[in-house]
């Protein structure tokens, strides 16, 4: 026994979070068991058929890049990283006739608290991401791509490197892919602990070997991206959705979700549920159904609140979220965001002040320091929430918090400022009595927090 084998005993197997039968019509996580991540297994599941179809192998005519983009547009696939931007539209922004290199980047810097889906995709089905990226590169005439992987999931990074080697050896990557004359080189890169690099231009800076401070937009990456060249950045899950769309067509993808919210989505359900894990279900699945799949609220407690799209998305009280379906439009209408699809569930033993205290500390810690409203403001938010939680709050503190949040939101280069401000404002909007109780009684209205 050495330390490696000892530590390996504590590694997650994916059984609890991924290989369960509680997905609904899964496309990305279907038929996985942890052992079948290799190229031959992926091919046995129909893998790389979409690429062959695009390249005109097996009888069908070659698809033109425009045709590929048209299919993706028709599918209504929207970016799975958080913003929900239509993927086909994003691809169409890339200049077609640009003389010189263009780049494709996969954002696997999954650090939004609550989100753990891209890790499972890359760990247990890495080739689906590779195939999606090759097709995307073909559609945009790109010859080089990078997958930037969260530094904390090093095993996943190594797994992805291994999958890349397999794909190269099989002729799916490199020069003259499958004899088509088309070339695409794909490499893996990794972060090393900076939430901000999940922001696409922060990621580009990091990929250029710098500190990950986001860039002012415009110019957008499609005109000035990696090394100043046209670049398209999509999330891991977005690329992973592409092969199915090519094989089955855009309308079929829309049909398994709902209009303007096509396809399936992987929700990372964490917090106070019996069965935390990843759940791939059709877009538009009722929240109540998702909660049921995750085993319901733990220990039979009552649902209190849900953060529906990663820690940056505004919290929704139980009565609102229970009426929502899980898709971009329904969650937006309820006043929050689907974001990365990270569903953080909180039961009736949870103090909202204490919950916000930890989140506000996080944003202060991870602010890159570039913009004053965020650098200073996140510190203010954290310190003021902290003093309310620890019994030193003042009656004017809630107004102060709202004022600081308002002065951050919309005044920073990137969305981290908004991400820090929105949870504060939503917590105050929905749970003001808990904050007031803390200030008056110097203690918590909800004593448990266990």
């Amino acid at each position: 026994m050495n330390s490696e084998s000892l530590l390996a005993q504590f590694q997650a197997t994916g059984v609890q979070t991924c290989f369960h039968n509680r997905h609904i019509n899964p496309q990305i996580l279907a038929d996985l068991n942890g052992a079948n991540w290799r190229l031959k297994d992926y091919e046995a599941r129909g893998g790389y058929q979409a690429l062959r179809q695009v390249l005109g192998q097996g009888g069908a005519p070659t698809m033109t890049p425009d045709q590929v983009i048209a299919v993706v547009k028709e599918s209504s696939l929207r970016g799975r990283g958080g913003a929900g931007f239509p993927t086909g539209l994003k691809w169409s922004f890339m200049p077609r006739q640009f003389p010189g290199p263009k780049y494709l980047v996969c954002n696997s810097d999954e650090g939004e608290p609550g989100t753990c889906k891209d890790r499972d995709i890359m760990e247990f089905n890495p080739h689906i991401v590779i195939e999606g990226m090759i097709i995307a590169a073909y559609a945009m005439g790109i010859a080089v791509g990078y997958n930037y992987i969260h530094g904390e999931i090093f095993h996943t990074y190594q797994r992805f490197e291994e999958a890349l080697d397999e794909a190269r050896a099989a002729g799916y990557l490199g020069d003259n892919i499958l004899g088509s004359g088309y070339n695409f080189q794909l490499h893996a890169a990794h972060g090393f602990g900076a939430y901000i690099c999940g922001e696409e231009t922060g990621l580009l800076e990091s990929l250029e070997g710098k500190k990950g401070q986001p860039r002012f937009k415009p110019p957008f990456p499609a005109s000035f991206g990696l090394y100043g060249k046209p670049t398209t950045i999509n999330n891991t899950e977005t690329f992973a959705a592409v092969p199915w769309i090519i094989r089955n067509g855009g309308p079929a993808y829309v049909a398994c979700g709902k209009p303007n919210n096509g396809g399936t989505k992987i929700y990372s359900v964490s917090g106070d549920v019996e069965l935390p894990g990843n759940y791939e279900v059709p877009m538009g699945t009722p929240f109540a159904r998702l909660l049921e799949l995750a085993g319901g609220v733990r220990k039979g407690r009552q649902l209190k609140a849900v953060i529906p799209g990663g820690s940056s998305s505004p919290v929704l009280p139980a009565d609102i979220i229970m009426d929502c379906t899980m898709d971009y439009d329904s969650i937006a209408k309820a006043g929050s965001m689907l974001g990365s699809g990270a569903v953080i569930v909180m039961d009736d033993s949870r103090c909202m002040v204490k919950s916000l205290q930890r989140l506000s500390y996080f944003y202060m810690h991870e602010s890159c320091g570039q913009c004053t409203p965020c650098r200073e403001g996140t510190g203010w938010l954290s310190r003021v929430v902290d003093r309310i939680e620890t019994g030193h709050g003042k009656p004017a503190d809630m107004e102060l918090l709202n004022s600081v949040a308002e002065n951050i939101q919309g005044r920073t280069i990137c969305a981290l400022g908004d991400a820090a401000a929105m949870p504060v404002r939503a917590m105050l909007r929905h749970f003001m009595p808990e904050f007031e109780y803390h200030v008056v009684h110097k203690t918590c209205m909800v004593p448990a927090y266990v």
Binding site: M1, N2, S3, E4, L6, L7, A8, F10, Q11, A12, Q16, T17, P101, G111, P113, G114, T115, C116, R119, Y146, G151, E152, I153, F154, H155, H187, A189, H190, G191, F192, G193, A194, S206, L207, E208, G209, K210, K211, G212, Y227, S268, V269, S270, G271, D272, P276, G277, N278, I307, S311, A342, I344, V345, R350, S355, R358, L359, F362, H365, E366
Partner: protein, 163 residues
Amino acid sequence: MISEKSKAAFAKEVAKYPADQRQSAVMACLRIVQQEHGWVSRESEKFVADYLGMAPMAVHEVTSFYNMYNQRPVGKYKLNVCTNLPCQLRNGARAMAYLKDKLGVDNNQTTADGLFTLQECECLGACADAPVMLVNDTNMCSFMSDDKLDQLVNGLRALEGKA
């Protein structure tokens, strides 16, 4: 001071990027250095800077910006425990408190025998496995109940002859 094995790993990283963009490999090179030496010294930064054709300050900017680079020596096993909200809801803070007690150190401290450095950290991206802990930047340990923390710490102590 940098082993041949690490230098070969550097070369593999540099080869991923355009010839005029060697700097892109700095994140990986510093990680490789840390895997070999346990931390990133100024001398290592200088070596990486020379290797990649960067100013040493530009390398230091990277080392000091990203949370996972150790800017000073740490214990043989660096334990990073996530206490962010999804983990907090599933005993992440408790795991941290348990380790503080068990190891007799506070956050960001190293045990007297040099074996363990304990650090609270931000989201590791394994929220459904909470409580989670990352050991030496590479080994994600999931569902870390008090029992499993005991097994892990006691196991490592036994391996190092310090049980």
